[in-house]
């Protein structure tokens, strides 16, 4: 099939970017979206032009590296997948596809379609952990039974891949879904309760410092999340935050 591409090109963080048009003639429907970009880049290299830089690594939807805005949707038109799992069979011959980086003040563009998401790391560093040293002698793993549905809920929250689609989807560029997923995972588990108060306060403070926007409950994040992280987590984080404030 023939595909028309409109791709954001930007030399570096300080330069101005622009949309550049490309046309690909021999796209196969069982190619992945990123393989389609590989083909474009092979063409560009052959012509001596600089290829389009984009972030990608595992190409199986789990590392969270790929991060493209496709026709205005983070990770493209399909639900519950990352760009690397998107296949060209989701498009038609003659389609025009607009590809941009994830946009947010807290995610500055590094080059072309690559953005800097280290703000997410700093939110995790502010409290996304349980303070336990490696010792070889904590309590036996089965000493504290955890109800299956609670453990499953914690697992659902823990499956966040940190890609940033929630931020890119949100009109306020809010990182509430991302932050609340980690807060929820630990708030649900008995191991995480001990530090719950400090954790939610510190992570929310860092989230605000990074320049992410506020949550106005539009739910776009949940719709676009490739891992289906639920809005319920934001509600849980708000409860945790409130009770932390009450606790002082």
């Amino acid at each position: 099939m023939k595909i028309y591409l409109k791709i954001w090109r930007q030399k570096d963080v300080d330069s101005k970017g622009k949309i550049v048009d490309y046309t690909l003639n021999n796209v196969e429907s069982d190619m992945s979206f990123l393989e389609m970009l590989d083909v474009l880049n092979e063409d560009l290299v052959a012509k001596g032009e600089e290829p389009v830089e984009f972030d990608h690594d595992c190409r199986e939807g789990i590392c969270g590296t790929c991060s493209l805005m496709i026709n205005g949707q983070p990770h493209g038109p399909d639900r519950l997948i990352t760009v690397c799992q998107l296949h060209m069979r989701s498009f038609n011959d003659g389609d025009t596809i607009v590809i941009e980086p994830f946009r947010a003040k807290a995610f500055p563009v590094i080059k072309d379609l690559i953005v800097d998401r280290t703000a997410f790391d700093r939110i995790q560093q502010a409290g996304g952990y349980i303070s336990v040293n490696t010792s070889g002698n904590p309590v036996d793993a089965n000493a504290i039974p955890i109800k299956k549905h609670v453990a499953d809920k914690a697992m659902d929250a823990a499956t966040c891949i940190g890609c940033g689609a929630c931020v890119a989807a949100c009109k306020n560029a809010s990182a509430m879904l991302f932050t609340s997923a980690k807060v929820s995972q630990f708030a649900l588990l008995p191991q995480g309760r001990v530090e719950a108060t400090e954790r939610v306060q510190n992570m929310v403070r860092q989230m605000d410092l990074e320049g992410f926007g506020n949550c106005t409950n539009t739910g776009a994040c949940e719709v676009e999340c490739p891992k289906g992280i639920s809005l319920e987590n934001i509600a849980r984080m708000n409860r945790e935050y409130l009770s932390a404030a009450v606790e002082g």
Binding site: E28, I114, I144, K148, T159, Q185
Partner: protein, 667 residues
């Protein structure tokens, strides 16, 4: 034994590790503050080592090429992590895990290391649960287990099909806590390009900032390489696109021996190749073999009809199907180890029974499991005589709960619904057992240069069992290396900070810059991917699932030729002082082009079949691997002396005092 000293502690097997820990030197907490350690790679091994070293008080610097430590490829491990907890009461023990691992590795691993691995396996589960890793649980609230290939017990802990992700996020969280404390400085989007030796000791690295292109010097008292495996040598593999051998290979060229490079794991259950544009292969977890049955059509004409789309697999009657693993290996059935399952799939496809367009796929079928679970569920729900549809629906729900994310992944890639029609699978490169040679302390042949996780060669012999990679990565990083490195660092308490303006740093940086310049000055005929794909084809066709002398000799010559061509004609756009993904790839492919040759040389010299290394000349009349313990019961550690083809062989003889060496049988 020559220059290789494995430093295995004396005494009975079960006491070695405890005794060793008691005898090695420690560094006192105040002195640890004056010691720096570099960790390259932030996967399970690197992340857990970095966090633990920082908890102990060392100053740690971590390096990863990804934009965050959380994205290391350990994240993609699906099925689970083994531990000898015996929670199921099915007769598991440290000895049995040790035994299974040595046997699974086809008697080519080091006994003492494997025993220690089995010994600390339980600690891993305790540690991860304490960190908040949400492992799967049963209704009673206790941890659930499942089975993996090559064993007869259920010792695998898991978190849906995302166990690697959850364990890595645990290690990442532990790292984050230390980053927050200022004990770890994390360098992301950085790639190690060389190892710096001062007075024969590893004292730092040269790294490239992948965003600015800047070449940087970083010093430390010791360097830990936890940079993963080298399967991307084959271009198509289940590895992440960026996974590479550069850190380990540079250390190799500076004096670290590279052991058993030809021991590569080809995983039996991956989604088959669909076309020339393909960039990567996707694994379908081995856990699926708990419930999936593998088969091909018995009759060649049925296979052909299926390939041509005239017949559907679901139309084929039970008696017309060949469940070849159950037929050949009744004791282990679909749960034979990976090397055995992969070869059996290749054998059936080579014989003309393959089921996709290219004839290189077999079926993994869940129909029987869906109906079995459905019946169980109907019974426990009190539904009497359920009809077929109800049973299917109930069974499907259970299969979905167990493997839902894998089925979804399959459907997205192949565009077929695996609940309705069997999956098509074929073997693909997945893991490398070979790697930098290390002694019992995980130190390479360069003093102060350590190697952990998949990057080292130590524990899996010629074949790794499922769910043992996560176990080894975390064992090395949490429980082994932080102890053993202290013994070495105890001599460094008075050394003080290592200056980066030493002539050795100067010289190594210069060498790195010259290499980049040379890469950029290629004539510009072909892209980096062109060379990578060519190398991959040579490797897959001549050094893949089965190998022979003629092919291997050809591979050595072809790789050397391709390497020459690469250095003269590679085309790299852009410039080296910017973000430049073509340059990044070029550096990695340059190293693969050297390793590939050593790989083939190693495979050629090993005149036996064992584990993942199958030489066509050495097989039993039934087509099973024929090991030669008399001549090859050793780890082959190669010393770099100029060109890969001239590498010098050193042998570490393997002695088995606690396990009877016998022919591996899963019949």
């Amino acid at each position: 034994m020559g220059v290789l000293d494995s430093k295995i502690p004396s005494g009975p097997l079960a006491d070695k590790w405890a005794k060793h820990k008691n005898e090695i030197d420690l560094v006192n907490p105040a002195n640890k503050r004056n010691i720096d350690v570099i960790v390259v790679g932030t996967g399970l091994a690197g992340g857990s080592a970095a966090a633990t070293l920082a908890e102990l008080g060392y100053n740690v610097k971590t390096f990863c090429y990804q934009d965050s430590p959380r994205r290391a490829h350990s994240i993609a491990a699906q099925g689970g992590v083994n531990a000898a907890k015996n929670y199921q009461g099915d007769g598991d023990s440290v000895y049995r895990l040790f035994y299974d691992t040595v046997k699974g590795g086809d008697y080519r691993s080091r006994e003492a290391n494997v025993y220690r691995l089995a010994e600390v396996s339980s600690n891993i589960i305790d540690q991860c649960v304490a960190q908040g890793v949400p492992f799967a649980r049963e209704y009673g609230g206790l941890l659930d287990n499942r089975s993996f290939g090559g064993v007869l017990v259920s010792r695998t802990f898991y978190a849906k099909g995302q166990t690697g992700q959850q364990l890595l996020l645990g290690a990442y969280a532990a790292m984050n806590r230390q980053i927050q404390r200022g004990k770890i400085k994390s360098y992301t989007r950085h790639e190690m390009l060389d190892l710096v030796l001062v007075d024969g000791k590893a004292r730092g690295i040269i790294a490239r900032d992948l965003v600015t292109g800047e070449i940087e010097r970083h010093s430390a008292h010791a360097v830990v390489l936890a940079s993963g495996g080298y399967g991307n040598l084959f271009f198509l593999s289940t590895y992440a696109m960026g996974a590479n051998v550069t850190a380990a290979w540079k250390a190799h060229k500076r004096g670290a021996f590279f052991a058993n490079p030809c021991f590569t794991q080809i995983h039996p259950t991956c989604i088959p190749v669909s076309g020339d544009h393909q960039s990567k292969l996707t694994l379908m977890s081995e856990s699926l073999r708990n419930d999936g049955r593998i088969w091909v059509p018995k009759r060649l004409e049925d296979a052909q009809a299926i390939r041509e789309g005239k017949l559907k697999p679901t139309q084929l009657k039970e008696e017309d199907r060949d469940y070849y693993l159950e037929r050949r290996y009744p004791a282990f059935g679909n749960l034979v180890p990976r090397d055995v399952a992969s070869r059996a799939a290749k054998e059936r496809c080579d014989a003309g029974h393959g089921v996709n367009k290219t004839g290189e796929a077999v079926y993994l079928d869940f129909e029987a499991a869906i109906m079995r679970y459905g019946k169980e569920k109907a019974f426990t729900s009190g539904i009497k005589d359920p009809d077929k549809e109800t049973t299917r629906r109930l069974g499907k729900e259970i299969v979905e709960a167990k493997y839902g994310n894998l089925f979804q992944m399959y459907e997205k890639i192949v565009d077929q619904n695996p609940y309705e029609t069997p999956m098509m699978i074929y073997p693909a490169v997945h893991y490398t057992m070979g790697g930098l040679w290390v002694d019992y302390n995980l130190q390479t042949t360069i003093p102060g240069c350590y190697c952990a996780g998949e990057a080292n060669f130590s524990d899996h012999g010629a074949n790794r069992l499922g769910a043992s990679a996560l176990m080894q990565g975390l064992a090395d990083g949490y429980f082994v290396l932080p102890y053993t490195i202290g013994d070495y660092l105890s001599d460094d308490i008075r050394t003080g900070a290592i200056p980066t303006d030493a002539p050795e740093f100067e010289a190594t940086e210069k060498a790195v810059r010259e290499k980049i310049e040379k890469l950029m000055s290629g004539k510009g005929l072909h892209s980096v991917d062109y060379y990578h794909k060519k190398l991959g084809k040579i490797m897959w066709n001549k050094c893949g699932m089965s190998r022979n002398e003629k092919d291997l000799k050809e591979a050595i010559a072809e790789i050397a030729e391709l390497r020459k061509d690469f250095w003269e004609n590679v085309k790299i756009t852009g410039n080296p002082d910017d973000k430049n993904q073509e340059l990044e790839k070029a550096g990695r492919v340059a190293d693969f082009l050297e390793l590939g040759e050593l790989f083939a040389k190693d495979a050629l010299h090993r005149n036996e079949s064992c584990g993942g290394h199958f030489r066509e000349e050495y097989q039993t009349p039934e087509g099973e691997a024929l090991r030669d313990d008399k001549n090859f019961k050793y780890a082959a550690a190669w010393e770099y002396v100029g060109e890969p083809k001239d590498s010098k062989l050193h042998k570490e003889e393997l002695t088995y005092e606690n396990i009877e060496v016998k022919t591996r049988s899963y019949k």
